[in-house]
Amino acid sequence: MIEAILAGFFLGAANSLRCTSICLPILSVQLLSSKGTVNNSLLIVGLFSLGRLVSYLAVATIFYFAASYVGVLNSPYVKGSSMVLLGLIMIYYCYRSLVRDASVSCKDFSKGRFPLALGYLTSFSVCLPLLSVLSVYSDSSISLAYVAVGMFWVGSSILPLVAVLPFVGLFRLKNGSFIQRIALIGGLASGLLGLIFVVSGLQMLIG
């Protein structure tokens, strides 16, 4: 058990830079555009991370019961579809936050719909370090695999959390016009990123 905890944590920590690079663009624009309070922003970060954990656990479950099919997750069709869906959600959020009333999307955020889905879709793939953890510990029992994957999630979440915390601090000045403008730019950036993800996803699907 101790070995699974340590191995999962350190492999996750070693992979943390890659996770940051994937999560930061998505999470930072959502935080910028949410116009929430500090607590609300922390909730977004937490739910996003929770979405990632759910994704990892789903991958671990698939690996445990159907290891030979886990490679399907890395196929361009699955990756491309995830990316298109991710992009569409971000574009939808951009629409909700800019064209419609921003408070509606804040409400959606507080309910945790978007961050959870974004976190899940961002991490729903099999990277090499995660595969290494799974291949070692899923032979014993599924609970041990879950522990290892959970610690992998903890290790890989450290850097992304540190990277987004400065953004969270911005929301102390919730009602300032400067922050309102930053939120507007964040919403636009979310739409732009969504568009880039959709195009990249379609490119993957078309081949």
Binding site: T20, S21, V29, L98, I185, L188, G191
Partner: protein, 398 residues
């Protein structure tokens, strides 16, 4: 309706205009005679006379237009001549000679082209993280010029960007100069005017037409979102995604007919089509470099100031402003100068009440001569640097 200008101030001769002109002429001679004496002899009086005329004229906005278009033409003709000398295809030429890319990103492979773009720096950091090679060392040692020259160019850009702010786009940008040229190409007769009238409503977004403040803010802030995403993706994924549709990236895409076609289409739409009909939309709503300069403009010394007491809200300034910088009657208020102002001075010189002025902070000094002098000197240095880069590249590559 445009009101008749109340009083047209006559050009005044001042000693500082003459001093500035002599200074600019001396700078031009000093810089260019070191390379070619004849060039220095020709350029010194031209730049000196231009500075004098632009400083004393009541139509500085037109002289600015001539200046930036001339600078643009000279730079692009020089570069085209250089490309022609290489056989027309810079990237192909580089790959043929097995020169490795300075920025081996997924989208751009031609480091020698990318190296001229300021967005190279964040993607270099990304490469540093991902490729784990000392990209900075590579960058500096393989840069066609020396590290010292690179730092000098970077310092030059930063200093003039800090001094001119968004004025850089109006007075010096060789990309926006093409749009400016198209914008000035008016009066092509009946056909042109008919086409313009037909499409004006579809393509022109006048500041006064954007009544909802949020819609207006959205359009104005799009460039900041593009800047943010550009830097973020360049830094994190080491991908210069903006190059995919930045028309300046045309030189990087010569080997891909599809991408080249898209880039040329965008260039034609944004730098010829839309400016010909209305204004430079790329520069003020899309260009991320313009957005960065808008941020620097907050601390730049040159400011357009409106005297609220003299202003009659006639709307002449917002109608004439080529950059959507003056919003008239937004939210029921008076006129407002936004961050897209590129210091073209058309509002200053056309205001019927002389209610708009160019200021250097709140100092009581003549600002126009300083703006013109600074811009002309920066233009001279920019063009000199460009010649040096092209010359050095030619020495290395040919």
């Amino acid at each position: 309706m445009l009101q008749k200008r109340a009083a047209v101030a006559k050009p005044k001769f001042r000693v500082d205009h003459l001093v500035a002109s002599v200074f600019v002429a001396a700078v031009a001679f000093y810089i260019y005679s070191s390379q070619q004496l004849l060039l220095g002899v020709i350029l010194a009086p031209i730049s000196g006379i231009f500075t004098f005329l632009a400083s004393t004229s009541n139509k500085t906005y037109r002289m600015r237009s001539v200046f930036v278009v001339a600078l643009t033409i000279v730079m692009w003709v020089t570069f085209a001549a250089f490309l022609a000398q290489l056989g027309g295809y810079l990237e192909l030429w580089i790959s043929r000679h097995e020169r490795i890319s300075l920025v081996p990103s997924a989208l751009t492979g031609s480091g020698y082209v990318s190296v001229l773009c300021p967005f190279l720096i964040p993607s270099s950091v990304g490469n540093q993280i991902y490729v784990s090679t000392p990209i900075y060392i590579k960058f500096f040692t393989e840069f066609p010029l020396s590290l010292g020259t690179f730092l000098l160019v970077f310092a030059f850009f930063m200093v003039f960007a800090l001094l001119l702010g968004k004025g850089w786009c109006g007075w010096l940008c060789p990309f926006g100069g093409l749009g400016e040229a198209a914008r000035q190409a008016k009066g092509f007769g009946r056909v042109y005017n008919a086409v313009k009238r037909r499409f004006m409503r579809l393509t022109t977004i006048r500041a006064s037409d954007i009544t909802p403040a949020k819609a207006s803010q959205l359009i104005f802030d799009l460039k900041y979102a593009i800047l943010f995403v550009t830097i973020l993706l360049s830094l994190i994924f080491a991908v210069q995604w903006f190059c995919v549709f930045c028309w300046a990236g045309v030189l990087s895409w010569v080997s891909s007919p599809l991408n080249l076609s898209i880039t040329i289409l965008i260039a034609v739409i944004f730098f010829i089509g839309l400016p010909l009909i209305s204004r430079r939309k790329w520069c003020h709503f899309i260009c991320p470099l313009g957005a960065a300069l808008s941020l620097l403009d907050k601390v730049a010394p040159f400011k357009i100031v409106v005297n609220r007491e003299s202003c009659t809200d006639c709307g002449v300034c917002s109608t004439l402003c080529p950059t959507f910088a003056i919003q008239h009657g937004v939210d029921g208020g008076s006129i407002k100068v936004t961050d897209t102002c590129d210091k073209c001075l058309v509002c200053v010189e056309k205001c019927p009440q002389s209610a708009i002025a160019l200021k250097i902070f709140s100092l009581q000094i003549e600002p126009k001569v300083h703006l013109v002098t600074l811009s002309v000197v920066a233009g001279l240095i920019l063009f000199y640097w460009f010649i040096v880069v092209v010359y050095e590249l030619a020495l290395i590559l040919v």
